[in-house]
């Protein structure tokens, strides 16, 4: 199949960028979107030109590196799919595909399609941990957890930190990422001791870098792991509770 690629090129953080057009003739529909970029880069290198810088690592949808805005949607048109798992057969033959980096103040552009996502690490450092002794693994079923709770925590834990939620959000808000990272710890018994400090610290850190949620729901639609905005509701509710609660009594059940 044939595709016309319009790719954002930017030599460094401070310099202006522009779109560069490349005709991709006779590419296999079974290629992944990243393989299309590999093909392009091999050609550019052979021509003695600078290859397009893009982030990638696992290429199996679990590391969250591959961040590209493809025709106005993070990770492209297919739902629940990271860029590395998007195959060219999902795109119309002969189409023009425009690719640009995530755009957010919290994600400064390093080069071409690569952005610096360390603001997410700052949010995790603020509260995305539990203080448990890390000795030998505890016995299975030592702490009983209802199936629904384990499932919900697992749904939140599916977040790969790719940043598509921020990229998709008209407000550049990071609520879905923060909520997922908050929820997968705070839903489980092991996450309770830090729960009320965690929510406040993570939200405050998030607001230092990103915009704020007005419930467009665009993040949920863009998320390659299809994480639900129900977790944002949980984050909001717990944030309010954390302000109102007498934390000296937080050790009680219920």
């Amino acid at each position: 199949m044939d595709l016309t690629l319009r790719v954002w090129r930017q030599a460094g953080p401070e310099v202006p960028g522009h779109f560069e057009t490349h005709e991709m003739r006779d590419v296999s529909p079974d290629m992944s979107f990243l393989e299309l970029f590999d093909t392009l880069n091999e050609r550019l290198i052979a021509e003695g030109r600078e290859p397009v810088a893009f982030d990638h690592d696992c290429r199996e949808g679990i590391c969250g590196s591959c961040s590209m805005m493809i025709n106005g949607r993070p990770h492209g048109p297919e739902r629940g799919t990271a860029t590395c798992q998007l195959h060219l057969r999902k795109l119309p033959d002969g189409a023009t595909i425009t690719v640009e980096p995530w755009r957010a103040a919290g994600f400064p552009i390093i080069r071409d399609l690569v952005v610096d996502r360390s603001a997410f690490d700052r949010i995790i450092e603020a509260g995305g941990y539990i203080t448990a002794p890390t000795g030998s693994a505890p016995d299975a079923n030592e702490i009983l957890i209802p199936k629904e709770v384990a499932d919900a925590a697992m749904d939140a834990a599916a977040c790969i930190g790719c940043g598509a939620c921020v990229a998709a959000c008209p407000n550049g808000a990071a609520q879905l990422f923060t909520a997922a990272k908050y929820a997968h710890l705070s839903l489980l018994p092991q996450g309770q001791p830090e729960r009320w400090t965690r929510v406040v610290r993570m939200v405050r850190e998030m607001e230092r870098w990103f915009g704020s949620c007005t419930n467009h729901g665009e993040c949920e639609a863009a998320c390659p792991k299809e994480i639900s905005i129900d977790f944002i509701a949980l984050l909001n509710r717990d944030y309010v509770k954390a302000q109102l609660r007498n934390r000296a009594l937080a050790g009680q059940r219920g």
């Binding site: 949607r73 008209p170 407000n171």
Partner: protein
């Protein structure tokens, strides 16, 4: 944002129900206007309850506008350089993306509305206490009727997103009830929109009045 929004939602609903008395004739709505002033008597002095409600409303209004301004500033700062290619939105709808504009239209309208039917400055035939005649005199002016209708379309669009959004903001989420939130917001917007628009529409077309 959500708490002040709920106060404003409560107000627009009660305000609309009260105003629909215009369909029961001059006496009904004038008596309602008088009742608002007497509310709380004899425990409270005349108009005291009315002024308390007005103060709460003004507070909610100011809080809502301040929060909207802060939110807008935060979100502008969050994406100083926008996308260079067109976005393809999947979930964000017209209502959610125009909250700022529908909000500003409603705010400007509120100012005009107060000048028109509360203080009478913008209504040459205004007579204090003659609620029915004042409404009819005001809405018989075609440009004014159009302004009322347009502003209430904006309000309905604002409510369509706001009355859904507030559940998420306050964390009122339950998988069994969540599908009802969209219907609640759509229903609220429709009731307020249709109720409020019917009055200028039926008066300017001389069906009523």
């Amino acid at each position: 944002m959500a708490v002040s929004g709920i106060v404003l939602l409560g107000f627009v609903l009660v305000h609309m129900i009260g105003n629909l008395k215009v369909y029961l004739g001059a006496e009904a709505i004038n008596r309602y206007g008088e009742w608002l002033r007497e509310l709380g008597e004899p425990a409270l002095p005349r108009t005291a309850a009315l002024w308390i409600v007005r103060a709460v409303l003004a507070g909610a209004f100011v809080a809502h506008v301040v929060a909207a301004a802060q939110l807008t500033a935060l979100n502008r700062r969050a994406r100083p350089v926008g996308y260079r290619s067109p976005r393809d939105y999947v979930a964000a709808n017209f209502a959610s993306r125009t909250m700022r504009w529908t909000g500003v239209i409603v705010a400007l309208f509120v100012v005009f509305h107060l000048l028109d039917l509360t203080w009478g400055t913008a209504n040459p035939k205004f007579v204090r206490g003659e609620v029915y005649d004042n409404m009819v005199a005001s809405f018989r002016r075609v440009p004014v009727a159009i302004a009322y209708i347009a502003a209430n379309v904006a309000l309905a669009i604002h409510i369509f997103h706001g009355a859904w959004s507030l559940f998420q903001t306050l964390g009122w989420s339950n998988p069994r009830l969540n599908p009802a939130r969209r219907w609640f917001a759509a229903g609220f917007a429709a009731v307020i929109g249709i109720g409020n628009i019917s009055m200028p529409l039926l008066i300017v077309t001389r069906v009523v009045g």
